[in-house]
């Protein structure tokens, strides 16, 4: 798996005190790992710092609320990793 996944898995493990070996690429941050919205702010902060990006949490939430996207697209960790890679690539473009 990509180093992006490893980085966010380590962040989640440390931030939420979740055993690292239970965090899989297929894990859904909310449904499987039980991360609530406040803890996810800490995770987003750590991800923003680690990758030098700004996760568009408000945009994603709006898309989910409007039925234009599913939570799986953004909060399953392998998908979140892909979104982060896209944001990092866009920053460098």
């Amino acid at each position: 798996m990509s180093s992006t996944f490893d980085t966010i898995a380590n962040i989640i493990a440390e931030t939420c005190d979740i055993p690292r070996d239970t965090i899989k690429p297929e894990s859904h941050a909310i449904n499987d790992l039980g991360i609530d919205s406040l803890d996810f702010l800490d995770i987003a902060f750590a991800i923003d710092k680690a990758f030098g990006i700004k996760l568009p949490l408000e945009q994603w939430t709006q898309e989910v609320n409007d039925g234009k996207a599913t939570t799986e697209q953004y909060f399953v960790l392998k998908n979140l990793s892909t979104r982060i890679d896209e944001l990092v690539a866009a920053k460098g473009a």
Binding site: L38, L41, D42, A44, F45, D48, K49, K54, L55, P56, L57, E58, Q59, T61
Partner: protein
């Protein structure tokens, strides 16, 4: 400072939007019903209210950075240290520095000094949302004017 009305900031004394920091002042009232309970016979400014003073100062920074279009709400207090007793009548200098401007949240480091001495510090996380209603937005602008934070200043700062 009007403790019973949760007005913990007397005035904004400095706002530097480019540097993403703000300073405020507040004088703790000599008397308040709060001091009857905290503590009987030995009045002290409650630490939770010192944290609230840092949160309000931090909030005004976020309000200004968002051009009075969004409202911050306290979400987390981390590494709070209440370093010494603060007594009625003392004057506080409160500083806040934006550490990170996230999507829908902000992380801010804040401090309070009294007589040049650090008395309190913490890292605060604020959720940043749309104003729940127009009335609140209006009242926030009125409060901002009362404490010397003008819309024009934040727009130009």
């Amino acid at each position: 400072m009007r403790l019973e009305y949760f007005q913990l900031i007397d005035r904004i004394v400095d706002l530097k939007l480019a540097d993403r920091k703000i300073s405020s002042e507040a004088t703790i009232p000599a008397q308040s019903t709060i001091f009857e309970g905290h503590f009987p016979g030995y009045p002290l400014m409650p630490g939770v209210l010192l944290i609230e003073a840092m949160a309000q100062t931090s909030g005004w920074l976020v309000v200004a950075l968002n051009r009075f279009e969004r409202m911050p709400f306290l979400a987390a207090v981390k590494d709070a240290k209440l370093r010494t007793f603060v007594k009625p009548g003392e004057r506080l200098s409160i500083d806040a520095q934006l550490v990170h401007d996230g999507s829908g949240y902000a992380v801010i480091d804040a401090t309070i000094k009294c007589g040049g001495k650090l008395v309190c510090d913490a890292s605060l996380t604020l959720r940043v949302l749309d104003f729940p209603n127009d009335d609140m937005a209006k009242k926030m602008r009125e409060t901002a004017a009362r404490i010397g934070l003008s819309f024009e200043a934040s727009a130009n700062g």
